[in-house]
């Protein structure tokens, strides 16, 4: 597919079945990945930063739980901590909030997507993966509206298809792709960023 590559940040939302696909994704992203990744995975309120640790070990990227106030870096992925909403500030720092659950979820995918959409505009990619509810659908509309790219995991392949289906139903999804295609696309974008830099030297 032809893409005008302006992308710097990826936001990902997933729930049921998410750990497996996140593992697949982060294990496959290339070293020196040029984009920053933000992830909301619905978790049980007690989970103790386990997922970030686990993913970090199998990825070239540095993967950590998001801390309040930290600045987004390329080649890093930030996981929303259990029980906190994750938002992005204008200066590209991260914010956390314990405000009410949104559609029964905290962290909420919509909250992250909405706040990232208007900060990163056409530099943002929003991805909805396997999951059991419709969180993320509203957020994808926002991302689309502000010029970002919207991608959804192929529901036929997703372990739980409700979330991808709800996202597709918005009519604002640019690409419906299998995991391997999503990975290929993201690695290509990163590579292009590298080449672009070399050319400009």
């Amino acid at each position: 597919m032809e893409l005008n590559n302006t992308y710097k940040v990826i936001v990902i939302g997933t729930s049921a079945g998410g750990l497996k696909v996140l593992k697949e994704l982060f294990a496959a992203l290339t070293p020196n990945f040029t984009l920053s990744v933000l992830v909301v995975q619905h978790l049980s309120p007690q989970s103790d930063g386990f997922m970030a640790h686990y993913l970090n070990k199998l990825s070239h990227l540095t993967i950590k739980e998001a801390d309040a106030g930290e600045l987004l870096l390329p080649n890093h992925a930030y996981i929303a901590p259990a029980n906190y909403h994750l938002l992005v500030e204008k200066d590209h720092s991260l914010s956390l909030s314990v405000s009410e659950k949104v559609s029964y979820a905290r962290p909420s995918i919509d909250v992250l997507f909405e706040s990232a959409a208007e900060v990163f505009l056409d530099q943002l990619i929003g991805i909805v993966l396997t999951g059991a509810n419709d969180d993320g659908a509203k957020g994808l509309i926002n991302i689309h509206q502000f010029g970002g790219l919207t991608i959804v995991q192929d529901p036929a392949e997703a372990e739980v298809s409700a979330m991808p289906l709800a996202a597709i139903q918005t009519g604002k999804v640019d690409h419906v792709l299998g995991m391997s295609e999503i990975i290929k696309l993201l690695n290509t974008l990163s590579e292009q960023n590298h080449l672009g830099k070399q050319r400009s030297i």
Binding site: L87, V111, F146
Partner: protein, 283 residues
């Protein structure tokens, strides 16, 4: 083209938001200008939408001219979500690592800053009772939102929450049966009156009000995450000045004094549970 339009729209909205926060401060004294913007904006836009207003300028007009409307915005902007023994491991650490030291003082002063509807304060009160410290403890519980303080004073919570509170209490190392501490009546759980005896609930704004004197422990959880760096430093400075040497500071699980101005004056007692101790010998 559509995009620049969007950018333009966002820029206008951001200007209006700044003006609204300025107006709230000038007229009512509540200062949200140094709060993290993403969150403030989200709440304000939700309010604008639910009222069907066209712009934040309209919302500003309403705020300045409509009597009592500021209370609605205050509620929107102060996130009062809380629970008893939120993050049980924090309370377990307090019980095991901090209370034994506090025990050595003849008289103990504790400040809960940003106590919301009081669940955190009563959680401590119960713990202090169980450790035999309550009778010589004075607890100041403050928040800038008078409405939540009213609820806190009453100490009455929906019975539906008791299941979660009880589970948290047990995980936090509670030594009794949680049901000893409340009376169930219709759909309410009324906390025992005697838990309140040594608690003073008072209005205090961390942005604009000043220090408390000679406090042994300050608990301020899930308040600093809403503040930008400048404001965090200012508030932490107030905490540092309010604490006795060797006093303790307990923050929320995602809050941290590393990279703040007061860091050199504190040692980390428990990095996971965010418990710090003011150094006895200051650098």
């Amino acid at each position: 083209m559509e995009q620049t339009e969007h950018q333009n729209e966002i820029q206008t909205e951001d200007i209006e938001l700044e003006l609204l926060l300025e107006a709230i401060f000038k007229k009512f004294g509540y200062d949200f200008r140094d709060y993290n913007k993403a969150h403030v904006k989200r709440r304000i836009l939700q309010r604008k939408q639910s009222l069907g207003l066209r712009s934040l300028s309209d919302l500003q007009h309403k705020t300045l001219h409509e009597k009592g409307f500021i209370d609605v915005l205050l509620r929107d902007l102060s996130i009062n979500v809380t629970e008893m023994y939120r993050d049980p491991s924090f309370y377990a650490a307090m019980r095991n690592e901090v209370l034994p030291i506090l025990k050595t003082y003849p008289y103990i002063k504790i400040w809960h800053a940003g106590c919301a509807t009081g669940e955190e304060v009563y959680s401590f009160a119960i713990m202090l009772k169980e450790e035999g410290l309550y009778h010589r403890t004075q607890i100041y519980a403050t928040d800038f939102n008078p409405v939540v303080l009213e609820t806190a004073r009453k100490g009455i919570y929906p019975i539906s929450k008791i299941k979660e509170f009880t589970a948290n209490y047990q995980q936090a190392g509670g030594t009794h049966s949680f049901s000893e501490y409340y009376l169930a009546k219709y759909d309410s759980a009324i906390l025992n009156q005697n838990l309140r005896e040594n608690i003073v609930f008072a209005e205090h704004n961390l942005v604009t009000d000043s220090v408390f004197a000679e406090v042994h422990l300050i608990v301020c959880r899930n308040v600093l995450i809403y503040f930008n760096k400048t404001l965090q430093n200012r508030v932490l400075q107030i905490f540092s000045e309010s604490l006795i040497k060797g006093g303790y500071l307990g923050l929320g699980s995602k809050e941290n004094i590393m990279f703040t101005d007061i860091y050199p004056f504190f040692e980390t007692l428990d990095s996971k549970n965010k418990i710090y101790k003011k150094k006895v010998h200051l650098p």
